[in-house]
Amino acid sequence: MFDVIIIGAGVVGCAVARELSRYNAKVLVVEKCEDVCCGTSKANSAIIHAGYDAPRDSLMAELNVRGNEMMEELSKELDFPFKRNGSLVVCLEEEDRPALKELYERGVYNGVKGLRILSRKELLELEPNIQENAVGALYAPSGGIVCPFHMTIALAENAAQNGAEFRFNTMVKKITREEEAWRLETESGSFLSRCIVNAAGVYADTFHNMVSSQKIHITPRKGEYCLFDKTAGSHVTRTVFQVPGKYGKGVLVTPTVHGNLLVGPTATDIENREGTNTTQEGISQLLAKAQTTVKELPLRQVITSFAGLRAHEEGHEFIIGEASGAKNFFDTAGIESPGLSSAPAIGVMAAGMIRDALDLKEKENFIAERKGLLNPAALSLEERRALIREKPEYGNIICRCEMISEGEIIEAVRRPLGARSLDGVKRRTRAGMGRCQSGFCCPKTMEILARELSADMLDITKSGGAARLLVSSVK
């Protein structure tokens, strides 16, 4: 019997797991995919919002601002890349100025610090690649960018370090109440738990509605993105949003923590909860929109496009708390933007509720710090030389574009909750994430995976499940 089972190993599930791992509790995270960070957490803007966008007095606003404030320390504690690069909301039409003013005022009300309205001149000095016809902008110095993969993996690894268990490829089929506990029927067995956390992203309504008569409904809202090569990474240095205006919500243009440029997202409500396909209209729409705020966008430098699904709940508010009529079943549902920004605060909030409900006590031996993968590129030449002398696999470059060595890939596989697929390696090391999009390193990474996992090459997958990369040996 577990004290807590968390459904979903996305950023929210992992944040809750990490916070719960502070207490003397038996915690299990179940995930339908083969790895952490495979749903909404994997495909989003990778932005830590300042908090001016969320409605006044909403939970969204509160947790966004708090999550933003926590991010710096958390990123140091758990060793994942985060940068406070600041964000700009660019206003292109005089008639949209009131909307800019409203954003400013809302931000101040929400507790966002350092907000300022910039003149056209100040804006263009700060970001020379903004279109000349911009009339002004809201500047939020506390806005930031993060690596959502590393953040989620860091939270998960730290939770695991502190005793939380993870089960992958474990889809939950059914939840029933038994006397003093919940029973979870899954693809790989049934589990009992005193308490359940529903962190199932676009599926959160499915599980909530299994146990509560007060139904909720989540709509997957698709967002498509284009990622640009690192040569375009400094096209803007801050995250550039557009004032929501007559053309809708607009798209953002932002550098990523790894030095690429990211443009997106679109917003289309769809039915299919696995509908992460990109579309012709979506891509052309977002590139066109981005060019209304940013000039000379180097379209030839796009290296990939992708889509993610936000878990949009009709009330457009985070649903965090015990589901009505379902004792000890806690929702973290409707976690759409600013969900990534809010995740650390959601973790604290949900874990606090569960601590109180189950009367959990803090551990004495909680390990707050987690060390990320060794990054040879961050070492000095001398240190790197010493590293390769000691561990020659760090001298063998596998991914040419991102300069990732065999040593890093091996570590990614061997870590607790290590990579099991090409995408798993990619999210942990960036091997295959560069301009050739794994053209060169894919066969070599597959070989390392097969060797490290003692698996047959034919069983190596791109992303788990049926995503096998090869069909047979040559006859």
Partner: protein, 428 residues
């Protein structure tokens, strides 16, 4: 720090030929740095024949062709390192490289030849919509898996792009028992060599669908199928022409890009059109003593011309190291692509340093039938060469003679352009 007269980045066909030529021109201290497990570069996975007709007057396979140059390099006793990745080159030619065996090390070179080759354009660069399942490979990756690693990436195949690697892989996959359902090409003409269309598609009854592209990729985990559609003159898919092909793999042969990250890092000027360094008659880049040849300079169709170009780079590097052929008056003639010519390599000529004959290579931007290559010296027609057919997929060349150029008083520009015959047939 180790020191060499000449460091060659890349041990593929370009690097090997350049090394041999430099040694034959008197350079003793040469080092080739190769990132893969053997010399020969991409030729090692090109196990089909058709290589070497120009160089050796016989038909060789890729590994055989590479083998001849590897043997030459071995006989000449030229040093090389395998599994060695160059991570940085400074403008003053300090090379930082690393390998398992030697760790991280620095080398000071007097001259550098860039011969890193090219990489394939990926799906992302084309913005092909749809899911991102396993089973979507660039044709070269598939070629490596089949020919070098011994694995089949799929058994029902659609290929996008009729560049040479795509055509070759259509045949290769068929011979290995896969069913190649179609080769789709965005342009109204193939980007590959005519002989490859005949030998790799026609001979096996594989349909080549010109003016078609992939508009959707189906399958969340493993590829299930792709949707092809016809495109209009602007390359835009035409609604209503969609056709679904069930398949488990999609191979992309949609263009090659010279790999110039190191060149850019050291500050070499790069051409927007070729994506390779801008070079002069000596194949010297904008940094003195740094030369480029082969696919890192501009993408070639035939390895024979890579070898030829690389030899020229090797000779130039040798002259540079020996300090001969220094420029005194610096008279420079510019080579200007016009009307129908996309680019010319090299882009300038210093008459003093020019060898007696200089091969100038270029590509046309469209298919021309019964047209002529015209060469103008400062506006004056100097040569006109009729060609039955020219296509972007086949590199063109002309030869310039030093003697002739010297006769031109104060020559500034040489223009190369395509002139169409008046009564040209329709392209159909």
């Amino acid at each position: 720090m180790k020191a060499y007269d000449l460091v060659i980045i890349g041990g593929g066909p370009a690097g090997l030929a350049a090394a041999a030529a430099a040694r034959e021109n008197g350079i003793e201290s040469i080092l080739i740095l190769e990132r893969d497990r053997e010399l020969g570069g991409i030729l090692n996975q090109c196990i089909h024949n058709g290589f070497g007709l120009h160089t050796f007057q016989e038909e060789l396979t890729g590994p055989e062709y590479a083998g001849r140059f590897i043997a030459m390099v071995e006989e000449l006793g030229i040093e090389y390192r395998l599994h060695t990745m160059v991570i940085d080159i400074s403008p003053d030619k300090k090379v930082i490289a690393m390998s398992r065996e030697e760790g991280l090390f620095e080398i000071q070179a007097k001259a550098v030849i860039l011969a890193m080759g090219c990489r394939e354009r990926s799906r992302g660069a084309l913005n092909i919509p749809g899911y991102r399942p396993a089973g979507v490979y660039s044709a070269g990756t598939a070629q490596r898996l089949v020919n070098m690693e011994g694995y089949m990436p799929g058994k029902e195949v659609v290929i996008l792009g009729s560049g040479d690697i795509g055509l070759i892989m259509a045949r290769r996959m068929t011979l290995e028992g896969a069913k190649v359902k179609a080769v789709a090409e965005l342009m109204p003409y193939s980007g590959g060599l005519k002989r490859n269309i005949v030998q790799c598609l026609d001979d096996f009854g594989i349909p080549l669908k010109l003016s078609h592209t992939v508009v959707d990729i189906d399958g969340r985990e493993r590829l299930k199928g792709v949707t092809l559609a016809k495109v209009d003159e602007k390359g835009k898919p035409m609604p209503g022409t969609e056709e679904y092909y069930s398949c488990d793999s999609l191979l992309l042969s949609v263009g090659l890009i010279p790999e110039n990250e190191l060149s850019r890092g050291m500050g070499v000027e790069i051409s927007q059109i070729t994506s390779g360094p801008v070079v002069n008659e000596s194949l010297e880049t904008s940094i003195e003593g740094v030369f480029a040849c082969g696919n890192v300079l501009h993408v070639h169709d035939l390895v024979d011309f890579v070898s030829e170009e690389a030899k020229a780079a090797g000779r130039s590097a040798a002259s540079y190291i020996k300090g001969i052929n220094k420029v005194s008056d610096g008279r420079v003639i510019r080579l200007v692509p016009e009307g129908g010519v996309r680019y010319i390599v090299p882009s300038s000529i210093c008459l003093e340093r020019m060898e007696n004959k200089l091969t100038v290579r270029f590509r046309v931007g469209a298919v021309y039938k019964k047209a002529a290559i015209a060469v103008y010296y400062d506006g004056k027609l100097a040569a006109r060469k009729k060609r039955l057919i020219m296509a972007p997929g086949e590199m063109e060349e002309i030869c310039l003679e030093k003697e002739r150029l010297l006769k031109e008083e104060n020559l500034k520009n040489i223009v190369i352009c395509i002139e169409e015959e008046k009564a040209q047939e329709g392209m159909g």
